[in-house]
Amino acid sequence: MTQQLDYLKETPSQTAGPYVHIGLAPGAAGFDIYRQELGWDIAGPNARGERIRVEGVVIDGMGSPIKDVMLETWQANSEGIYAHPEHTGDVEDGFRGWGRVITDFDTGEWGFDTVKPGPVKLPDGKVSAPHISLWIVARGINVGLQTRLYFEDETEANAADPVINLIEWEKRRQTLIARKTERDGKTVYRFEVKLQGPDETVFFDI
């Protein structure tokens, strides 16, 4: 016999199911209950930097858009600072950097407004290219999927990004790059997440 380690085991994940909206976005489920729902304003009114819109869709293995998916977003501000006590630096009043995004029930399209995050300095001296972390849950997804959205117009930063460079297959790196478009003078990035197939999005075990 040996001594016992006294760690606990993590609570196992279960799917968010088709009715995730009731808990996390009740307005979308069809009723009004809370004074305010959380995650609708990612950057807040005082955020500096470029205002952008991000739009996309999550596509299943049959090639169909998933209409009951929910995404959460996590990002730094335009100066590369996260609104978190362990990250040194200040963010603008009202900047949380976190958002909840639900799809249109008919089309599966989703979108959110935010500011473009800045590059993040890492403790080892490297720099992370501007990115938004995404967490994707839905019916049929047993453990929330983690991925990252990078920006097409950050070619140099992306080429030096330590996470992108961990991906052995250069072709797969492209699945993390949001395409830049413009609409009515506003920058819109398009990001399609594919759960299966030859262009399957890179997901991270973080």
Partner: protein
């Protein structure tokens, strides 16, 4: 004081795999390539924080938070309570816990739910709270009913409450489901059985807690939640070249 370091790796053999054919919807929604393993860095060890300005005290009382004045939700009145801990058994204070569930008849208040059990006009079906300084949380609600769902022809979900928990870091983010001790449907549920290890399933079953019951009023179930723990930085290595 030791500096907090990276989080313990998530045990992917403990969690359900992505591809679980008996839960049919997972088949076309499960990535097929291997995930890329990422050591924790700034984007992973940070995460959103919430405060008491974000929520209201009544949000955690599902019997009354959607009820008309003087009325209340129908069903078996229960308290669901417990602690949010990390794998080091350390309480996680001030973290957001959100729940959602069907009503006592097994019907969700959702525009996509068409089950024939009736909507309860006084029950919304969602609640949220922040853990206190000891990681403790509690909700008052009604016990949800079992309901049928389309998977095989005759599948019934065991009574369950969906739970969403944040912790302090985006890599701790977790959604799970809480089941109730003694429910014979647990062992038969294809969603429960996506989890390979029976010991892991046990962690999702809330235990009847008579000590926390309010006599002649409300029965209680205890449900602790464990999020990923993190190691301490014991030795700092100097970056190469310095």
């Amino acid at each position: 004081m030791l500096k907090p370091g990276p989080f313990y790796q998530r045990d992917r053999e403990w969690h359900p795999p992505a591809h679980t054919p008996n839960y049919k919807t997972s088949v076309s929604r499960s990535p097929q390539y291997s995930m890329i393993s990422l050591e924790n860095n700034v984007s992973e060890i940070t995460g959103p924080t919430f405060g008491h300005n974000d929520i209201d005290p009544l949000d955690k009382d599902l019997i009354y938070n959607y009820a008309k004045s003087g009325e209340s939700a129908i069903g078996e009145r229960i308290i669901l309570h417990g602690r949010v801990l990390d794998e080091n058994a350390k309480p996680i204070p001030n973290t957001l816990v959100e729940i959602w569930q069907a009503n006592a008849g097994g019907r969700y208040r959702h525009k996509k739910d068409t089950y024939l059990a009736p909507i309860d006009p006084n029950f919304g079906g969602c609640g949220r709270t922040l853990t206190d300084e000891n990681g403790y949380y509690y909700f008052r609600t009604v016990k949800p009913g079992a309901y049928p769902w389309r998977n095989w022809v005759n599948n019934w979900r065991p009574a369950h409450i969906h739970m969403s928990i944040f912790g302090t870091a985006f890599c701790q983010r977790l959604i799970t489901q809480c089941y109730f001790e003694g429910d014979p449907l647990i062992a038969k549920c294809p969603i429960v059985n996506t989890i390979p290890d029976p010991a892991a399933i046990e962690l999702l079953v809330a235990k009847l807690d008579l000590n926390a019951t309010i006599p002649l009023d409300t029965i209680a179930y205890k449900f602790d939640i464990v999020l990923r723990g993190r190691r301490s930085t014991l030795f700092e290595n100097r970056p190469e070249g310095n």
